[in-house]
Symmetry: C2
DNA sequence: TGGGGTACTTACCTTTTGGTTGGTTTTACT
DNA sequence: AGTAAAACCAACCAAAAGGTAAGTACCCCA
């Protein structure tokens, strides 16, 4: 029943999105699911070799809580866990392309007066 | 003549965009220019009262260097400085609306199973 | 019994980001 | 000479984000 006094700045929907999109790894992780139905923990480790396991876990946990990714555990042996984009998560994908376009325009102007 | 060994991850255009969009204040500052031809330093301080002067200066400087904002100095008295969106900066505006839409969808699902 | 595979977790440390406070400069007005 | 307004800077500090290294749990197979 705790009633947190949230500031406007924290309840702003833009900021909610930045929580998903911001950070060093989240968008990179989400991007891996473009063209991949589902990915396992180990797949992501291979696809993004620079990421530490701590970060990968942390971000996966976050993205699941945020309803961007779903997690399916198969109690096989060896243990298998599959991550996939939720419907909501799929809506993030187009942003990646748009951000890339913008980024390319930014590069063109680099160093210009 | 320094030749920095940049990693792929740093030259990625998506990351360039995240530099502009990320952080606590940059998008908020850019958003103030929606419907405003130009804004003065003092205007922005009033429009975003929570921001510290250090951050406002820092981000304005960054956004100018990144070709998102232009800066015009009028050597009047008292000194007048006007900031405005560049053509490139105007291309960031639509993102704000899109991020807000996504953010609203995120909120709808908050706490759901 | 012990090594290997998969999926994590924890403790500790460094780097980055952001906040606080108190300056500076220029010009004008009184 | 003193004060004020606008724009900006710098030193210091705290909090958040990210990195490193090691360990856990589970099960299998040799």
């Amino acid at each position: 029943m705790e009633k947190k006094e949230k500031k406007l700045i924290d309840t702003c929907p833009v900021r909610k999105s930045l929580d998903i999109i911001g950070g060093k790894w989240k968008l990179l992780i989400i991007g891996q699911f473009f063209g991949a139905e589902m990915l396992r923990y180990g797949d992501l480790k291979k696809l993004i070799p620079e990421i530490s396991e701590k970060m990968l876990n942390q971000e996966l946990k976050f993205l699941c809580k945020a309803n961007i990714l779903s997690k399916k555990i198969f109690h096989e042996t060896p243990l298998r866990v599959e991550y996939a984009l939720t419907d909501l998560g799929k809506q993030v994908i187009p942003f990646i392309g748009m951000l890339a376009d913008l980024g390319n325009k930014l590069e063109e102007l680099e160093g210009e007066a």
